[in-house]
């Protein structure tokens, strides 16, 4: 079972929820937690993995053998990202524009194009607390594209296949979030009861619906803002699976790197119930 924790708005508590959910799930399942927020992975701060494996990942970008090239320009014509240009007898390659689709290599009639790995980030994995199998991607500073790293992270085979995979998504509602959500069995959407929280919740709900993924909602900082999120959830058949009230002691615990269910044990059963609901939704 693959559960993705997403939010739209940043700072709503995705990692707070994902890490505590991982801990609760690990009481009876084998769990892999993947931190897919490759621009700023931080779930490791709560689960303290010891990384014992690493892998450099990226995209395959073209390199042209000018002895074989006849400068026909077909590679430049096919490239919708304008990452390769042929000017007279010169070939220019712009790695930061390349999406690694491989079209230029396929279309080259002279087979003058080979591909090399352009490293965009590093995957790291290892055991964390409660035998949680932890994995994260970390994008290199200055890289513009997160999606290839997330794609490789999802493909990175664990030593032992887990029964539950939890993906901590990046914030937002753009390509990296779509890539993280793709292939998941359930989307757990963490929001806060504010106009901003609602606005972005609607966007990730739309992604989940487009991908055909059932979704449920966690309302964090419950008690602030207004009741518009609740009304929206009711109108759109989105079950509210958990509410976490705004409490200073919770904020302080999270800020010092403690898991929510450790800092506030009364959430233990609430997370168990939520995990139960998700399991029921996925398997029935």
């Amino acid at each position: 079972m693959r559960i993705v924790v997403a939010s739209g708005k940043g700072g709503t508590g995705k990692t707070t929820v994902a890490t505590s959910l991982a801990l609760i799930a690990s009481e009876r399942e084998s769990v892999r937690l993947m931190d897919c927020d490759v621009e700023a992975p931080n779930a490791r701060l709560f689960l303290n993995p010891s990384f014992d494996s690493h892998k450099e990942v990226g995209i395959l970008i073209p390199q042209v053998d000018e002895n074989l090239c006849n400068f026909c320009g077909k590679c430049a014509q096919i490239c919708q990202f304008h990452a390769i240009a042929v000017i007279g007898k010169k070939i220019l390659i712009f790695p930061e524009l390349c999406h690694g689709c491989g079209s230029c290599t396929l279309v080259c009639p002279e087979r003058a194009i080979s591909e090399r790995l352009e490293v965009m980030g590093v995957l790291s994995g290892g055991p964390a607390v409660h035998d949680i199998d932890f994995a994260q991607g970390m994008m290199k500073i200055g890289e513009p594209m997160a999606v290839p790293i997330i794609r490789e992270l999802k493909k990175w085979a664990p030593v032992n296949q887990p029964t539950v995979e939890i993906r901590d998504a990046p914030p937002g509602a753009s390509c990296p979030v779509v890539e993280t959500m793709r292939g998941a069995d359930f989307a757990l959407l963490v929001t806060e009861p504010t106009p901003f929280g609602l606005h972005d919740l609607k966007q990730v709900v739309a992604i989940a619906r487009q991908l055909g993924i059932p979704a449920g909602v966690v309302i964090n900082r419950d008690g602030i803002g207004d009741d518009a999120v609740e009304m929206y959830c009711n109108e759109n058949n989105l079950p509210i699976l958990l509410r976490i009230p705004m409490e200073r002691r919770i904020a302080e615990a999270i800020a010092s790197g403690k898991l929510l269910v450790d800092a506030a044990p009364e959430y233990h059963s609430a997370f168990q119930n939520m995990f139960e609901s998700i399991t029921t939704e996925v398997y029935i």
């Binding site: 430049a76 490239c79 919708q80 990202f81 304008h82 990452a83 240009a85 000017i87 007279g88 010169k90 220019l92 712009f94 790695p95 930061e96 524009l97 200055g142 890289e143 513009p144």
Partner: protein, 125 residues
């Protein structure tokens, strides 16, 4: 020589467009005979690499020099590979393509030897 000028419009009276990759059109004018033709910029709606695409376009039209308001690193590299000289002109006050042409002929424009700003992607950002 053939000079490309980034403009918004389709005539020599059209205003100079200070954007290069995202210019709405290019006017290609023969600086000796005055003959000219205006083209839509094929890169205007490119999702990325507009500078590269616009550069390839002006090169394919045979331009030997181009006037715009700014050139990013990818446009600079592509135009330089095509041996096209790059000149910058101010957007304020507004000028027509004809006025830019006159300024070019009077050698009042600055030729650049490096990109005028950083790119919008990746390491050049």
């Amino acid at each position: 020589m053939k000079l490309a000028i980034s403009i918004s419009g389709k005539t020599l009276d059209s205003p100079f467009d200070t954007r290069f990759g995202r210019a709405s059109s290019f006017c290609i004018v023969d600086t000796e005979s005055g003959e000219w033709q205006a083209f839509d910029n094929p890169a205007i709606s490119a999702s990325g690499g507009a500078g590269v695409q616009a550069s390839q376009f002006v090169a394919s039209q045979g331009a030997q020099a181009v006037v715009s308001g700014a050139f990013g690193p990818n446009a600079y590299d592509t135009l330089a590979a095509a041996d096209i000289k790059m000149y910058i002109a101010p957007g304020d006050p507004a000028h027509s393509a004809t006025e830019i042409l006159e300024m070019f002929k009077a050698e009042k424009l600055t030729q650049i030897e490096a990109a005028t700003h950083k790119g919008y992607h990746g390491e050049n950002h």
